[in-house]
Symmetry: C2
Subunit: 358 residues, 2 copies
């Protein structure tokens, strides 16, 4: 994540991950989520915070989830169902439950199928937000599998050359295990930036680079500046010349795999309602020797990170490296939450009679 999207230390209160986990779990239970799901949901959010993915942690997401459950848009106790199944595949209807709680169950199915057949994939329609998408991909790692997860969300991003948003920020994540090194964890929005990160930038008053956003009519804002009142997101690359059509095509691919393959309307055309998801697991042992794979991953990551940097650059980083470094730091020193977020947590704890832990 670019440093411009991080909370400043002087505005932050540091909270221990385990304390935050228990409070978030209690908040979910307080709005009607079953204890097991509440615990799972808390783990998804706090894992994002521990890994430094602040945009998808407690600060940005919990308030939103609570509001959507209270508004009746998201079911706290969904009656989700497998509606199609084959030895390697399944389709789930999520009954408007939260993706953060159903995607891990879908991933468990994919892993089980991958044990039997070599790989497994599960597509999920009619769900809600899935949090940090790499959480679900990473569930494959302890099973010596490669995990993949994708989400198709409501229209927020312009097609290349378009004036109206028709794709979501549609993230994709892939996780692959190493032996002694940190795992490879690739997790990106197909938009130039995750919408949540702009919320953080707004809160922090930080400037936005040129070619990052378009105005309300779809004209690309080529000069850097503060976040304008009205703006639209571009796909990764920004301009056509630098590859925005690649981000756009990848985003459409994700909507096809998550939505149309699950029998649903593409999320890019379904308003700000349900999100749809797709997870897959590849059993390394079905393809090659697991130990050799993991040792070669160690070597690949280490060699890549040792690439000589370009003039003026500090180092080459691999996907998952910064997040692994952040885990060490935040497990030791706590998660920095903006004072304003802590104030909201204090309020909801008082309202739901949850004992605060800080």
């Amino acid at each position: 994540m670019l440093p411009i999207f991080r909370v400043q230390e002087e505005d932050a209160v540091r909270i221990r991950p385990d304390d935050l986990r228990l409070v978030v779990q209690a908040v979910f239970e307080g709005v009607g989520v079953e204890p097991d799901d509440a615990k799972l949901g808390a783990d998804v959010l706090v894992t994002a915070d521990v890994r430094g993915v602040d945009s998808h942690g407690v600060s940005n997401m919990l308030r939103n989830y609570v509001q959507r459950i209270r508004d009746g848009v998201v079911k706290a106790q969904p009656d989700w169902k497998v509606i199609a199944e084959q030895p390697s595949t399944a389709t789930i209807d999520c009954d408007t439950g939260l993706g953060i709680m159903i995607a891990p169950k879908a991933m468990a199915m994919a892993i089980e199928k991958a044990k039997q057949t070599g790989m497994g994939a599960v597509t999920m329609r009619n769900a809600n937000h899935s949090g940090m998408i790499s959480y679900h991909a990473m569930l494959a790692l302890p099973h010596d599998m490669i995990g993949m997860a994708m989400t198709a969300a409501g229209p927020q991003v312009l097609p290349t050359h378009g004036a109206v948003p028709r794709v979501g920020t549609n993230p994709i994540a892939v996780a692959a295990p190493a032996k002694h090194m940190h795992p490879f964890v690739f997790d990106i929005a197909t938009s130039i930036v995750a919408a949540n990160k702009l919320q953080l930038a707004k809160r922090l008053g930080t400037p936005i680079p040129g070619n990052f956003l378009a105005d309300k009519d779809g004209r690309i804002l080529s000069e850097p500046g503060l976040l304008p009142a009205e703006y639209q997101l571009l796909t990764m690359g920004g301009t056509r010349e630098l590859g925005s059509h690649k981000g756009f095509g990848l985003s459409m691919t994700i909507d096809i795999m998550c939505s149309i393959l699950a029998g649903a309307v593409p999320s890019g055309f379904s308003g700000r309602g349900p999100a749809n998801h797709f997870v897959a697991a590849y059993n390394i042992a079905a393809f090659t020797d697991v130990e050799e794979f993991k040792e070669r991953m160690d070597w690949y990551l280490a060699e890549m990170e040792a690439t000589p940097p370009a003039p003026g650059q500090e180092r080459v980083m691999t996907p998952g490296q910064e997040e692994a470094e952040m885990e060490v730091e935040r497990n030791a020193h706590g998660i920095p939450l903006h004072r304003e977020v802590v104030a909201w947590l204090d309020e909801i704890c008082a309202e739901l009679a949850i004992p605060r832990r800080w």
Copy 2:
């Protein structure tokens, strides 16, 4: 493809696709390829030309393949083998054969597995060039499946912030069928541009945009200009701010799936030798109703293409649309080949005693 990478009409000779197919097949046979494989290889190359993907057609590739076969780097008649197999997966050692001829066979295996289990995936090590990667993905379409194909190639592209190339241009393609509309065919290099397109730009003397390339030390060339004598490729996005780390991470993902998962050294570290590949097929019927899927794809493509354009832009295009339009034009009017390419074809036809057809 940007128009800057197209051959100018005044430098072109138009050749009928079927004539070109027969000549290319004869050239492959002339250097020792079996007739069935020669026919398949010719179809991969000429299909790229017919679809307007000139960078991966006869002009750029055939001469290279012939040279590599004659140099003994590529085996004309490889003894490729399945070295691991599960109900949904397989690993192939390609014995340094051309990917253009082995990837279609791997895709046929993936399709067969997807009929049985819902999906199939085959990884291929120790191969050579796979041509236009979407050719292999599109083989899934007549089976009402979604096809995917990826290639990991030798080091040609800088990691984000790096000074030395450590990833290939590593393309990925996904093809999904529609009912009456053109199929969705997404096919991109994870570099900002395919290396082959720069060869075309050099031949055509066309200018290169800013933030497209780096100099020999890894400094990004921010101003537009002619192709410099020495340059290095960037991943898609160009700069870190506009998302080059996303292209870089996707490129590493592809090397993991194509190379390490197949038991091979990542292509980004294996010199300009073998390329490794990965293909997969998803059986739509395993997930949802096929007719509904294809009708919804029609609707999705049509609605996306009807997106109001941004000021100054002509239209929004979907992946595969331009290529489908080009198929109509080139099947009717022939494939424009640069005079210099036709001269080379004339030479090799004379050398191998192949009757020319133009």
